[in-house]
Symmetry: C2
Subunit: 288 residues, 2 copies
């Protein structure tokens, strides 16, 4: 497994692979602190592509000044061992100066699907995400890029950006991987206190409650969101809710009356860490 | 010569060329109404690359609502004949709907070099330019892209964007091509009235005056700009000056005291059309 620190090194690793006959390059962009959710993306890339590149880069521009950039978990040795074990061909792990040179002043901005939810709570977040993902796509030049459904809005925004800027890679979104009690895997879970960790499954339970109510015929999105908020308040008293939203799966526009598939997405702040989760749901059990 | 109307067609023309052994693809993005300035870029691409792609697309997003999008000259038949005569391999001439599909909402924004001069006078202009150039680079995937020095700020902004987003093509800037009396070639010159056309050489004359004063030891940028403004006022009374700026050649930051190479750039509005021009100049005749 090649570990590249520079743009030049990773480009040359990919070019070598293509010259050697690799017909498809799969790419998994990460911020490291890899967990089974990331490895499910890597395994999907391994199954789908001849050459697999993983980037590990805690991107400063997608954190607001008051956010957790400094204390974001960093576990590079374990990450490299995990990548090796999962058959990754090349890891791109640049320093911030390699990605953002002197005078750098370009941003990629998506409106539409980037505006609500995380975009509303974290100003500038998606500009940072879109800019670094566009850069990584241009550096690695993959055929397929893999994103996790846990960050549903991020995947939708990246898909929109890739379509709008004619970025070549196909975007694959893989299912959320969860702990046995339902908590979505996230690098940030490491920051949860024991009591917060005990309450955290309330997020998925709230989403499941929403799905059950929807299938029972409750079509008013406000009603559903209220019920989900109450569930969190009762079962995760340490959490304060940033949002519970019911949105169109593609445009992420708010839905008032639910007539087809929607995504319910939520974010809560525990004292130690902010968590997000989401679920695609449909009024009829069989899907659309 | 292949004429492609869709992204798919032009991508497949480039892919076919690469499969057939083309080692380098040169790209000249244009808004059509091709003149000798464009053909000098095409000729440079022809000399430098195995396969030459020209795009012809009057990009609506780089015109403000009050600007000349509708009356921008369109001469597609002559343009295609000219491309054929200059040995172009493929022309990409998409409709606006092919470039901006439903729901499209992504923009590429450069601050720094895009902020003054044209960026100040034409709000949103460079967002439109950068977004369409990023798209075209992603569609055509050239090795080298050619821009004219007449749009000096545009070339500097595109160079900045390409570096910041790790866009692969090398950016080549080719010298401004001029009419015998010094007027910089521009598709918009077609809109000049006879009297405006008679006055238009005052732009280059003002730049040459600035250069002469600089070489005589006048290092104060305000003095130089004032002298250039006066020259235009006296010799092109129909023109009103949008700006005369003396800037750093790379960052385009305003220069107060000229100690090395600078670019003098100006824009004037005639009643019929707005014109720009610029000149790189240096205090010592031999250059830096």
């Amino acid at each position: 497994m090649k570990v590249a620190k520079t743009v030049r090194e990773v480009r040359s690793a990919v070019a070598d692979a293509r010259r050697a006959g690799a017909r498809s390059v799969g790419f998994v962009p990460t911020m490291g602190a890899l967990h089974p959710g990331h490895y499910s993306l890597i395994d999907a890339a391994r199954r789908g592509c001849d050459f697999v590149v993983v980037s590990i880069f805690v991107n400063p521009t997608q954190f607001a000044p008051d956010e957790d950039y400094r204390r974001y978990p960093r576990t590079i040795e374990a990450d490299l061992a995990g990548c090796e074990a999962h058959g990754v061909d090349a890891v791109f792990a640049p320093a911030a100066e390699e990605m953002y040179g002197a005078g750098s002043c370009t941003t990629v901005h998506v409106s539409g699907p980037a505006e609500g939810m995380e975009g509303g709570c974290r100003p500038g977040h998606f500009d940072g995400v879109c800019t670094v993902v566009a850069k990584l796509f241009n550096i690695v030049a993959p055929d397929v890029a893999y994103f996790g459904a846990k960050d549903y809005q991020q995947a939708a925004v990246v898909r929109r950006m890739a379509a709008d800027l004619d970025l070549p890679p196909r975007i694959e979104v893989c299912p959320t991987v969860r702990e046995p009690d339902g908590l979505a895997m996230s690098s940030r879970n490491a920051h949860l206190t024991l009591e917060e960790r005990r309450q955290a499954p309330a997020l998925l339970a709230a989403l499941r409650l929403g799905e059950r109510l929807l299938r029972e015929g409750r079509a008013d999105a406000c009603d559903l969101a209220d019920a989900m908020r109450r569930h969190i308040a009762e079962n995760a008293p340490l959490a304060s809710v940033d949002y519970v939203e019911i949105v169109d799966p593609v445009t992420l526009a708010s839905v008032q009356t639910i007539r087809g598939a929607v995504v319910a997405a939520l974010a809560v702040r525990f004292p130690s860490v902010r968590l997000i989760d989401n679920m695609r749901m449909d009024p009829s059990p069989a899907g659309r």
